[in-house]
Amino acid sequence: MAAFAEQAVAEPPPAQTVGYWAGVWRRLRRDPVAIGAGIVILLLILMAVFAPYVAPADPLRASTLRRLRPIGSPGFPLGSDELGRDMLSRLIFGARLSLFMGITPVILAFFIGSGIGILAGYVGGRTNTLIMRTIDVFYAFPSVLLAVALSGALGAGLGNALVSLTVVFVPQIARVAEAVTTQVRGRDYVEAARASGAGGLTIVWVHVLGNVLGPIFVYATSLISVSMILASGLSFLGLGTRPPDPEWGLMLNTLRTAIYVQPWLAALPGVMIFITSIAFNLLADGLRSAMDVKQ
């Protein structure tokens, strides 16, 4: 016994052992792109939360005299929109609804879709076939079409837009969850846990969740930008946010008539959507590589 005990001790000690999430954070910190994206998102969220203190003017105060001022006009740092409202203030306030409509459906769909997908993946067999084929029916529709159809059927309004976006994302997340769970279920450590006499719920809780939630979370993060853009589309059709509430998608759409008069101004809400969605995507990418244990 002594001989191989020595052998085991003789091997060089690996780097200091840290918890899994501490390791993820350590790797994420070394990724300047992900950190930059995280800071941008944090600033956007702060901006949304403290909008009344940050914004220089009332985003709803209109004036027919000051319509479509160019960027940099006195009193209007980012110009004014087609109803003479301060663009900067509207962009700042718009972050509230845009981020809300981007993040909330994804969070809801993350929980519902993960639940469905993990159930299907872990139970397998006919239950899996039944659940996944039902999911496929929803998946077969293009996301935009499904969101518009559901919103239209439910009626206009923020709440209904939220519900329909959630329904759009549940099948996508469930599919990823099912695929990851099926993969994890086949690993020997799940077999070993079954051989230890553990029940299905214990195995899912201890051995499956920790290994599947990471990849699902990363996928969900990348859906936030899609959700924001879909929400903008719904607003454009009059199914989501209603004027005069500021929301980037709606602003982009109402300003499209001004594109020949003030093209830079008309592009501003699009720039905000672009910055936000790329920040979320880059953060998701960074998370994905930071969560890869075998690095």
């Binding site: 085991a8 052992t17 230890s196």
Partner: protein
């Protein structure tokens, strides 16, 4: 609860009796998922594992070794047949699956995939006892103790994650994990096959020490005949889901009676220049288990095959003391020209 306290039938009663174990995997095809064929992975296997012995199981890839291992633990449901553990049928009211699984554990080939990458090795080892109701603190103490026994100093290794360990160290953790529920039988499914030779020898010695220390019984599955010969008291040779030969290790290795065993043995690389292998003893792949050949399953590749071999299925027949082989050449009066004459 020590292994001795659980012993019910006394030393003469086999720890594990397997009777008519059968596993057919259906192949589903088409829209409605109709069963078009059956893979006969394990096709009627009978054997016993005696208390305190090591039963080696050998055979080519796809002969049903690993399926048998998973069937023994009921990780997959057998199509037919029964497993009797120390006199009680597994799954009967007297021996439920959970209490059976506490007494029977398994170590897998892939040391990485058999450990949860998100858990420290200590947590992984402590998981089994906790499932069986051992309080957290006690389970962790037991895990640390077992890690020490398998040669991993708990102070340095307990908090590590699987990717921070070498293959040999991970396999030690897997052994500790199997020991943690204080089993009487451990099934080692190619447990040392993925390790390099020096580490393999260390782990084999560890297994022998642990067997002594905890009074364990092993079912040792491997395709490596040298390793099986080193560790086994008895050997079972499998071919296409059937037992070809079964007997004491020395008997089988010295006086193989089944031509398949003989061929396997002669495929072992020898260091003796006078016993050099001149030609490949076994040509081609084993036949497809979806449609196994009639009669003796080995007759398609057997040098001694006669017409009778494709007509009659040979049962396991006594071929000496503590030695059985499923070959018509062993069975008296079977009709094979090399068979011994039937006793009058």
């Amino acid at each position: 609860m020590s292994a001795q306290a659980l012993d019910r039938g006394g030393p003469a009663q086999p720890l594990l009796s397997v009777r008519g174990l059968l596993k057919h995997f259906p192949i589903r095809n088409g829209l409605l998922g109709g069963v078009t064929a059956q893979v006969r992975a394990v096709d009627g296997v009978d054997f016993e594992v005696l208390k305190g012995e090591t039963l080696g199981v050998v055979g080519e890839s796809g002969c049903g070794k690993s399926t048998t291992a998973r069937l023994l633990l009921h990780l997959i449901e057998p199509t037919a047949g029964e497993v009797i553990f120390d006199g009680e049928r597994v799954g009967s009211p007297a021996l439920g699956l959970t209490s059976f699984r506490r007494q029977c554990q398994m170590v897998f080939q892939d040391s990485y995939s058999s450990l949860n990458p998100r858990l420290t090795v200590e947590t992984s080892v402590a998981f089994g006892p906790k499932v069986h109701g051992v309080p957290h603190r006690e389970a962790v103490a037991r895990a640390r103790d077992l890690l020490a026994r398998v040669g991993l100093e708990p102070g340095r290794f307990a908090g590590r994650y699987p990717h921070e360990l070498s293959g040999g160290q991970r396999q030690r953790v897997n052994i500790a994990r199997a020991l943690a529920v204080q089993p009487r039988l451990i099934i080692l499914d190619e447990a040392v096959s993925a390790l390099d030779k020096s580490v393999e020898a260390q782990v084999l010695n560890l297994l022998l020490d642990l067997k002594q220390e905890f009074g364990l019984t092993y079912v040792f599955i491997s395709h490596d005949l040298n390793v099986v010969r080193f560790i086994s008291d008895r050997v079972m040779v499998m071919y296409l889901g059937r037992v070809a030969e079964l007997g004491a290790s020395a008997e089988v290795f010295e006086r193989a009676r089944h031509p398949y065993t003989a061929a396997l043995l002669s495929s072992m690389p020898s260091l003796d220049p006078d016993r050099r292998t001149e030609e490949a003893p076994l040509a081609g792949d084993p036949p497809n288990p979806i449609d196994p050949p009639p009669g003796c399953r080995f007759h398609t590749r057997c040098a001694f095959a006669e017409p009778i071999c494709s007509a009659t299925e040979p049962p396991l027949a006594a071929a000496g003391a503590h030695h059985e082989a499923a070959c018509l050449m062993v069975q008296p009066g079977s009709g094979h020209s090399r068979a011994p004459r039937a006793a009058a």
